[in-house]
């Protein structure tokens, strides 16, 4: 039996422990905000936080998550003003998404970057965001949105 929390709510799982967290979230827990993109940690669409750090949920088996605290796009705004993480607000302000499919993963990756490095350089942004593909090509706006949030004081934890 695997016990974990997702966005502050406790869950238990007694199915196939090889199941990646991605499919647990989507098919079992019914939280569809986290997206499948590659199944091989190549694209970042499935990015969530484990204990505050960005991980690829498509290659993280449930067996590794007993006791883990998971945050997904549905929970990233919790505790922030208006229920929105500053990055979510910046994504709206810069109208970052086109199709929008990869953007949950982009926001989760960027949130992890800013938690580690509140004032990232361009190279820091490229380094942290390199693993997140956007096939629509919203990278210029992703960079601009991250920079707009960089340096802002934290409005609260996750």
């Amino acid at each position: 039996m695997i016990k974990l929390s997702v966005n502050g709510v406790g869950y238990s799982f007694d199915g196939d422990e090889d199941m990646p967290l991605l499919w647990y979230l989507r098919d079992v827990a019914g939280m569809k905000g986290t997206k499948f993109g590659c199944g091989a940690a190549q694209c970042g669409a499935c990015t969530v936080h484990q204990d505050g750090m960005a991980i690829r949920s498509c290659v993280t088996p449930m067996a590794a998550l007993d006791g883990a605290e998971i945050t997904t796009i549905e929970g990233i705004g919790s505790g922030h003003m208006d229920g929105m993480h500053p990055l979510q607000k910046a994504w709206v302000e810069y109208k970052v998404p086109q199709c929008g499919y990869c953007q949950a993963g982009q926001i989760m990756q960027a949130a992890s970057l800013l938690a580690d490095s509140p004032n990232p350089s361009d190279e820091d942004i490229d380094g942290a965001m390199w693993g997140n593909i956007c096939r629509c090509g919203t990278y210029p706006r992703i960079k601009a949105a991250i920079k707009s949030v960089a340096g802002q004081s934290s409005e609260g934890g996750e």
Partner: protein, 769 residues
């Protein structure tokens, strides 16, 4: 339901409204149907399509009970809430926002009081396609008429209430104002009365002057933006219906192959697996068929994927088992080197080449590409009791509707197609093969089922952007002026996906960037060269314009350098003076993307304006540090004129960096300026992916690449700054989904030549040279 509403207003008003118009209601309604394929009277028919329940409200056509329908596109409730049908799918370009915005603008309603419903496949709406950059182009006039007709009906209803002439009543942001008295009635207050009025004849309706536009030409945010950043937007892969199971399919590695034998015992033993079986009966041509293979159905995605990996299958390759990219390239290049079918002929190109002071030739190559939208192909199907309900992201809901009906042998009214958001399309989601797979599996198991492709499935079983070889020859006179232009193009065409007898491109397929060469040259010949086809070929963002634009613009640059001229000035000279080109004078059957040449002329004045603008905005001609250069290209596609300048910096180790790209574009009237910019930003990046890193190759009939580690696309560290300069224009609007892509690869190649002296003629160039 519409007729019931007539009894809900006061008899006096009803009487007034009935007596209001001298025109025969039925006649004017038919007239309206002709122009907008819409009418209040037929509205109720579409409502019956919702007889099967679906919890997601945004996917349901207008609910007639929730408001008063003015026509197929809009209704207004008594609280003033306007509901507008998003007639076309959203795949990321903003059609779901821009198209309702056109209606809302002419209706003169408050955008904050608009709700949106996604349309079902419905021929009465007109073309619902988001392919061929056509959504705005094809529907702009009709959507304006739909909104403006409703505005006039509201004005007439107010006039009836006040007992004044309708000409004294004017719409003003969600209310009607009486000019003389200043009296005001809100849209909600007038909705029931107005919806009863006969739909006006087109000739009675006044469309807005551009000075009156509230939204057209503005900067509207995508309507799904908030849902997207909160993880609440419903894409195709997110659809869940009660009792739904999950399928994963192991398909033949080679198109046309099949399983000689297979064993599913190990797969069946996986916890949660419900069914394992063979699906489909593939026959050429491929069309939208399921490719066949072995399907695994399970309680969740993971069980299906895991069990699929345990299938033991012995494949038979079939007739395409000998397809190898290296040998095929030689075949294409040999075909392009020899004369083909002449599709455009001006003057005598061979005589002019023989007489030229300089005779230059070059060959260009571009490989297969896969769309690799971040959401892979996906569909949910529920096929039971002689009916089918399908949920699939698509680029035209009519295509899965007709395809599923045909495959299952059902009448169209027994098939319901829902259109959730698409996580990218790029042409791939115009092909409903995944919905066919889901329908076949659901029919087999008698339960609703989702078929979601893995990334490996997506890369290996794409409808690929076609591989091509281009052969170019030109003659220059002693002054460096181009006197002859010969262009031969060989590639496996999309037509071969549907026609097993295809021998290569038909003439019309060269309309996309070869036949429509806008250069003012005395001797021009364009030829279509044969090619065999060994996989499924499909539409990929801008289609053949990618390799034609690459060859034409690269060769232009080569000629400029041979002539010792600045490529920007040379390009302007080749485009020549302002004129409308009539390709039929050169014996070409030019299709003009299905539009009339009068409404959408090939206008070299507008083209040259784009080129001059991009040169000015990019600082063309300024001196740059060693290892840096600028390249220019102009390419008209899908009736939109696009000039681009790419600024490149090649590091000492050969790494290609692209700091900036400038565009100057003329797409006629712009509906949503902000999304037009977004399309060009993203199109530049997709263009760089295609130019630099994306490459699909075949060995023994099967695709070599499998996921993003070996089918590369651009990542953030290679992303340029993109500047988009939009020419102000009152011309009819054209599309912007595809036109950003074609000029990028040649402008980059030309920039690299300027920076290093190295000419790149094979795509992809690589991330370094």
């Amino acid at each position: 339901m519409i007729m019931n509403a007539i009894f809900n207003i006061s008899p006096a008003i009803a009487e007034k409204i009935r007596g209001l118009s001298g025109t025969d209601a039925a006649l004017s309604r038919r007239a309206f149907l002709k122009t907008t394929a819409a009418g209040a009277g037929v509205f109720a028919m579409s409502v019956s399509l919702t007889s099967k329940s679906f919890a997601q409200e945004q996917l349901v056509h207008i609910d007639a009970d929730a408001g008063n329908a003015f026509n197929l596109y809009l209704s207004i409730a008594e609280d003033g809430k306007v509901t507008i049908v998003a007639m076309s799918p959203e795949i990321g370009q903003g059609a779901r926002t821009a198209m309702p915005a056109i209606v809302a603008d002419e209706l003169d309603c408050d955008w904050d009081q608009v709700e949106f419903v996604q349309a079902f496949p419905d021929p009465r709406l007109g073309s619902q396609s988001v392919g061929g950059s056509s959504a705005i182009r094809d529907n702009y006039d009709g959507l304006r008429m739909a909104g403006a007709s409703a505005r006039l009906m509201l004005e007439r209803a107010a006039a009836a209430v006040w007992g004044v002439d309708a000409s004294e009543c004017k719409a003003d942001l969600h209310k009607i104002v009486h000019a003389g008295s200043g009296r005001v009635l809100g849209y909600g207050e007038l909705a029931k009365a107005a919806a009863l009025l006969p739909v006006p004849d087109e000739g009675e309706v006044r469309l807005k002057d551009k000075s009156e536009f509230r939204y057209i030409g503005g900067e509207l945010a995508p309507i799904d933006l908030s849902d997207i950043v909160h993880g609440q937007a419903v894409y195709g892969i997110d659809v869940m219906v009660p009792g739904m199971k999950y399928a994963s399919i192991e398909r033949p590695p080679v198109v046309g192959g099949r399983a000689k034998s297979w064993n599913g015992d190990a797969a069946r033993a996986v916890q949660g697996v419900l069914w394992v079986g063979e699906i489909g009966d593939f026959q050429f041509p491929a069309s939208y068929q399921a490719l066949g293979g072995i399907a695994v159905v399970a309680e969740n995605s993971w069980a299906a994927i895991k069990a699929r990996g345990l299938l033991e299958i012995d494949w038979e390759a079939g007739p395409n088992g000998g397809h190898n990219s290296e040998a095929y390239r030689a075949e294409l290049e040999a075909s392009a080197a020899a004369p083909g079918k002449v599709v455009r002929k001006r003057g005598d190109v061979h005589a002019a080449l023989a007489a030229a002071d300089q005779h230059l030739s070059a060959k260009y190559y571009a490989p297969y590409n896969a769309h690799a939208s971040m959401e892979p192909p996906v569909a949910v199907a529920d096929v039971r009791d002689g009916e089918a309900e399908i949920w699939t992201p698509n680029q035209n809901p009519v295509t899965p509707h007709r395809t599923i009906a045909a495959v299952l042998g059902l009448e169209l009214d027994k098939v319901i197609v829902h259109t959730p958001l698409a996580g990218g399309g790029f042409g791939r989601k115009g092909k409903p093969d995944v919905a066919v797979e889901a329908a076949l599996v659901s029919k087999e198991i008698g339960m609703p089922v989702q078929v979601a492709w893995t990334r490996e499935d997506d890369i290996r079983h794409c409808y690929f952007h076609s591989v091509s070889a281009q052969h170019m020859e030109a003659g220059l006179d002693k002054d460096g002026k181009v006197t002859a232009w010969l262009h031969r193009s060989a590639f496996p065409p999309i037509g071969a996906t549907f026609d097993p007898n295809s021998k290569g491109p038909e003439g019309g397929e060269l309309d996309l960037g070869a036949t429509d060469l806008p250069y003012d040259i005395e001797n021009i010949q364009v030829e279509a060269c044969e090619a065999s086809t060994h996989t499924r070929i499909g539409w990929y963002r801008s289609v053949y314009n990618i390799f034609h634009g690459f060859a034409v613009n690269s060769f232009m640059d080569e000629l400029a350098h041979a002539a010792g001229r600045d490529p920007g000035e040379y390009l302007l000279e080749l485009i020549g003076g302002p004129r409308h080109i009539d390709f039929s004078l050169d014996a070409a059957k030019y299709g003009n993307y299905g539009e009339s040449i009068e409404k959408f002329p090939t206008d070299t004045g507008r083209m040259a304006n784009c080129v001059r603008t991009v040169m000015e905005k990019s600082g063309w001609g300024k001196s740059l540090p060693k290892g840096q250069g600028m390249g220019i290209a102009f390419h008209r596609s899908f009736l939109t004129d696009v000039a681009a300048v790419v600024h490149v910096a090649v590091d000492d180790d050969g790494t290609i960096r692209v700091p900036t790209i400038h565009y100057a574009i003329d797409c006629g009237r712009v509906v949503n300026t902000e999304r037009v910019r977004a399309q060009f930003e993203g199109g530049a990046i997709m263009g760089l992916s295609t130019a630099m890193v994306s490459n699909i190759t075949f060995e023994d009939g099967a695709v070599v690449q499998s996921n993003f580690h070996d089918y590369e696309v651009l990542r953030i560290d290679q992303s340029p700054e993109v500047y988009v300069h939009i020419v102000d224009s009152d011309a009819p609007p054209t599309g912007v989904g595809e036109p950003p892509v074609p000029p990028i690869a040649p402008a980059l190649a030309n920039a690299i030549f300027a920076a290093t002296g190295k000419r790149l003629r094979d795509m992809p160039f690589g991330a370094s040279i």
